[in-house]
Point group: C3
């Protein structure tokens, strides 16, 4: 029974696989200058996993045999799945245009992207003094002149061997500083951008949905998570504008929605309101270092705050100051009554294998950098109190989650789920999960439970309990599990971002209020399940 | 019992009535040039139904005797309901101004609309070369000079016989090409704009709410559906600007919300983000034919994509390339396990009387036009894969809906609804529905069930099952029916639009995820209903 | 039993306390010119309550002993809670800068706010003719010249006695007309802006959450409600721009969300769409009196409509034309079947102690002012019909709420709540509520019930029943109470604002439809509770 309790509460995506080294060990890309440098896949294991072209027959990660990617994967993860089009089909065009006439031909077939390119700095690399200087630096790096950055620079010179650009084969060649900063996110661990595709394809529910033939349903997931090895999520094709990437909207398409309403909470905060009223007149061609707060920007942008590194420097590493990160791992600072106290239950899967430590020396240093930043426009005492209040807010949410966790654990322990955990559909890929990950990563207790019960275990809590929101199979999840998953993954996280971004409605009405509302529903549902079972026992129906 | 199953699953609004001709037959407005041309009501039956002025005593459609319109109807459907104001009341003004002094008098009483008119092309029909040419064409058509398009052109010359402008009595007189394009939507069948008022007043729940004295509650419905015979939904009074109508926001007030979040999904897609960042500098005075993608528009608008007809032509007929349409009719391409396999159960009410056929020759042609359009900015292969993935996404949603449908049908068949279908309030206008529509339209089985049971039938599924979201009466709908209606009408449709518009959060978090979440609730609820009934039977309470 | 029914239905926040005078008596600030004028706290009792500096040890209001404010209160309610920072800590800065060198020092420590100030009229009080004239008026009032409005004008001259600016100690000194207009909101009673902090700290659930150590969770509440005695909610620091305050976005951060989606409904109405398309070119430096509708503004803003006083005058008193106010008090015009007919149950707490009277002489006059305003752009008949339809919409929502109220009252009366009202956690601060407020304010019946039952009473309905959305404790609220509270406080109010602002989706899909959907859930849940109890009685489990 104790084993079951451990089981029902472990969480978070299995985030690493392959060579067995932990995240920490992989932190700094340890590649000798002689090797081909890869920003997105610095370890050889990861590189091999992705760069080895296998087309669309086989997936990625420890469950790679279990699923077959959808055709769009060739664009989502081109370094692994891209299949070159058969150029011979375009007989008419091949007669009309020579192989080097990319622009001429594509002005006919895809005029929009040619026009976008023509308006870009790539087409006019000396369009002003600033870019002339930057171009000179790149020319020096490449050892050749750049009149224009033509299609071939990113797509290769041979249409029969057309390449889909990634940070490794394209962007990073000319912009190594930016690529390195981006790759530097690994140092701070997951979640981050540079490991986002890994995170996408490794979670059990993703694979399970694929196995059920529902891969097409998950393009929404893919569209955000595909940015791991590409730059066009923020600097859209084929303008690739730095100024575009400095606008807060550049983050919005991904950083919105129930689990991280960064955009919505910024947009409706006073910071976002001022941006909305005045931002169209701000000069986004200035680098963040050049921006004078209150003068150039009258309020901050996502980039201005989250890319600040301290000491007057900004880097393309928006996770570097993250303390609460996504808000999904429990902090050590709270005394838990439920099995959350034992989180992560012996699991050795980074970044699952820890609790947060909000007041660790590293996080205290991050906080100082925040205060340095906030003080540009606020009294430092106000800023400190705000951040401390955010901590208190979060601690309180975890206490409420702990209450809810205890109720649901009790429901499971009393066997009140109906259909029972044994009778209903198992946990996603529960049948192969133990073998795929092994006792070293899962920890012996959880490995054993999954192995023996073939995945017929109830998983509640951060983070693997979030499967209740990604997956529905006969009898799984039950209503109370769904209520619980929504409580922490939607409402707790909305309140977090609302409080962090000083947006009152997200803090309270979209956050705390529905979070405790879910707790009310969980209490009510637990009580009904108990009454129903008591009646069934009394009438000998069970 | 079999009859009941048929009943429980039929769907969609009764969309035509009156003269008994089918939609297909009515497709092309078959009016001789000698007749008065009507764009909104091309058939004589429809014309009579609406144009015959009856004031506010009687409604429209087959249920016209059952309800009495609210006073605002005189503005929502003026061709039928407008009551002219008694001009004699304005004694002061009549002394001060002469009858022809519309502008002078209204500068005093409603200055805002006069100012809007003054800034319009109507007030300055030769304000540039383009409009001088257009005005010349209209002058030729009318056979007279147009110095200004004065109030009287649209409202008539006599205030005692003031007319509310419609496409027939006003807009279409000078702009017949636009009016004809708009009227052309009928060729593609429902849903469309030009039949939107029909759709509003004919669905059973609309009438039922009116009968209960709740007509005032439905102004939200009316505000969108009133655009059937008017142009000011997109070109607002009294500017009537073509440029305004080319902005994506022109569509937003209607094309938003839980069942068709077109605006929200566009707005937060990368296409919408780019429009938001740069659109204020685009030249919206250009016609869509003149727009160069990537140069004039750096990303597409609603109008640019949905009004594209192919061959470099755009028409005011945004439904012409619709394949999945609203996403509410089941496609033939899916194998159903529930009674969805028999949809539409012999019903002969257009457009209810069919399943979709996604790969029909007509739809394959539409798809080619889409690819021609998308290829302006994307590789045609990427575009094709995206559209195919959308199909797969939709097929999968229908499989999930089929699962849910089967569960709820079983609940009804086992008599688990409590209060029972017989005891609770009947289906909207269930008491008069059979007689109003007759066996020819309803099909004999459904006619018989409604007739015999006086509307006490459970209706689940597309499209009439959506009544659960429009109507609540004692015992109707039950929780499981409400969960089901939300599953398909809200979440399935949100995911559809998110996937179609490439907005990831709408595809997954506002779409698929809550859609399968509803399925989990439906499973859970069916199980609880079964347990409760088993207990009641065992204890002889039932 | 009758007493219980009275109890279960009373509502609204306890809005006044202290000196026992009613709102009506306090309406006009009766301060002699000789006294120190206070705009936010015109009565001596209120003034004393807030202005008496007590730091962070003790709260405000009749429950002041029951809770200890969070540190951020020193910024939220500075007139009561501000603790001056110890300037001696800044030794480095004190050596570098002289006490009068605010700008020089703060350019170093908080450059953003200095830059904002530099761009403000405060820094350039004669930057154009208009402001030169305004400045001359202020100079006359103050009896001295104003070259610049320096930091010291608002924060005081001594950093050791630094003051946080409020309308009394800062804004109102130079802008008494604006301050008086704002203070004038009191005349119209609650809800309003100028009493918003009172409303925040006096409701039982706020105190209860504080008592549980969850004060930090309520910063979302505080952020809106803190505007009582400050002006920087609409005119943000340190620009304090009148033009900013005229933009509709100035209202958005607070006036959004489930209970008053003013911003969302305006933003997506045609009025908001036109503002969005064209507003960036409108001249917001014009005063509202100078704005010519249709010419300067092509559509109205929040301020243009809600600050209109009639007769061509605008005042900073946006509640002056409120008829339905927040939509939370039941109107007299509806015949109720539930205990709503007896609302407010003898309670004597303003503004709880009344029903609305939509067609009172005062409200008829307000309506005339609305029509005067709306007629600037609409026919007066259309405007009148729209407002009348809004009334009908609201009356219908109250009838539906009455239906729901009756169902839930019956559930309570039959003792179907489980855990019972006696067994579960009591109403927020139920243990001290009776003593804190006394029989005069609560009315004898409610006082007695709370006193005898120590707060173990079920409170359903407007307005105190909204506690179900603010507070969750063991067994409280139950699911049916939560459904009910959401029905009226979220969906009814969304529909209200959608209908009032002519935004169709908010009127129907975010309003009426989910409102009656909640009624369906309430019906369903009441039935399930009854079935469960019948089974328990039959099987002798209860």
């Amino acid at each position: 029974m104790r084993a079951l309790f451990i089981i029902v509460t472990f969480g978070v995506s299995f985030l690493l696989w392959g060579n067995g080294t932990s995240m920490a060990q992989q932190a700094a890309p340890a590649v000798s200058p002689a090797e081909k440098k890869t920003y997105a896949y610095p370890s050889e294991g990861l590189h091999k996993m992705y760069e080895e072209h296998v087309g669309l027959e086989k997936g990625s990660g420890p469950f790679s045999d279990a699923y077959k990617p959808i055709p769009l994967y060739m664009y989502f993860a081109p370094s692994r799945h891209y299949i070159r089009p058969d150029i011979k089909m375009f007989t008419d065009l091949l007669q009309k245009f020579k192989p080097e006439q990319c622009v001429e031909c594509h002005t006919e077939v895809t005029p929009g992207i040619v026009a976008s390119w023509k308006s870009s700095t790539h087409a006019q690399p000396r369009r002003n003094d600033y870019f002339t200087g930057k171009t000179a630096e790149i020319e020096k790096l490449l050892g050749r002149e750049l009149k224009e950055v033509l299609c071939s620079e990113c797509h290769g010179k041979n249409h029969d061997e057309l390449q889909m650009p990634t940070v490794d084969n394209a962007c990073g060649q000319c912009h190594p500083k930016q690529a390195e900063e981006y790759a530097g996110e690994r140092e701070h661990g997951r979640p981050n951008h540079v490991q986002s595709w890994e995170a996408n394809v490794i979670v059990p529910w993703y694979i399970e949905n694929y196995r059920k033939g529902e891969g097409a349903s998950q393009v929404g997931c893919d569209q955000c998570h595909m940015e791991m090895a590409k730059c066009d999520g923020c600097h859209t094709r084929h303008s690739f504008s730095a100024a575009e990437g400095r606008h807060p909207e550049a983050c919005a398409s991904c950083h919105m929605g129930p689990d991280h309403p960064d955009w919505e909470s910024y947009e409706h905060s006073k910071m976002g309101i001022i941006y909305h009223l005045e931002g169209h007149d701000w000069d986004f061609s200035k680098t963040l270092e050049e921006v004078k707060p209150g003068e150039d920007y009258h309020s901050p942008t996502c980039q201005y705050c989250h890319m600040y590194k301290g000491g007057g420097k900004w880097v393309i590493d928006p996770v570097s100051k993250g303390i609460w990160r996504m808000g999904t791992l429990p902090p050590k600072e709270v005394e838990y009554q439920s099995s959350l106290k034992d989180f992560p239950y012996g699991i050795n899967l980074p970044p699952l294998n820890k609790k947060l430590e909000i007041y660790s020396p590293e996080n205290i240093k991050k906080r100082e950098t925040w205060l340095e930043l906030c003080s540009k426009c606020h009294s430092s005492r106000f800023a400190r109190l705000w951040l401390e209040n955010l901590d208190q807010y979060m601690f309180q949410t975890w206490k409420r989650q702990d209450e809810a966790q205890k109720i649901v654990e009790q429901v499971v322990a009393e066997g009140l789920l109906d259909p029972s955990v044994e009778e209903r559909h198992c946990y996603p890929v529960g049948d192969v999960l133990a073998d795929a990950l092994g006792p070293d990563k899962l920890g012996p207790a959880i490995y054993k439970a999954f192995k023996e019960k073939k995945g017929h275990v109830a998983v509640i809590g951060p983070i693997l309990g979030v499967s209740s929101l990604f997956f529905t199979a006969p009898g799984n999840p039950s209503a109370i599990e769904k209520h619980y998953a929504e409580m922490w993954f939607f409402y707790k996280l909305k309140g977090y971002k609302g409080t962090a971004h000083a947006q009152q409605d997200y803090s309270w009405w979209y956050g705390w209020a529905p979070m405790i509302g879910q707790l009310a529903l969980i209490q009510d549902e637990a009580n009904k399940l108990r009454r129903l079972r008591a009646l069934e026992v009394k009438t000998k129906l069970k």
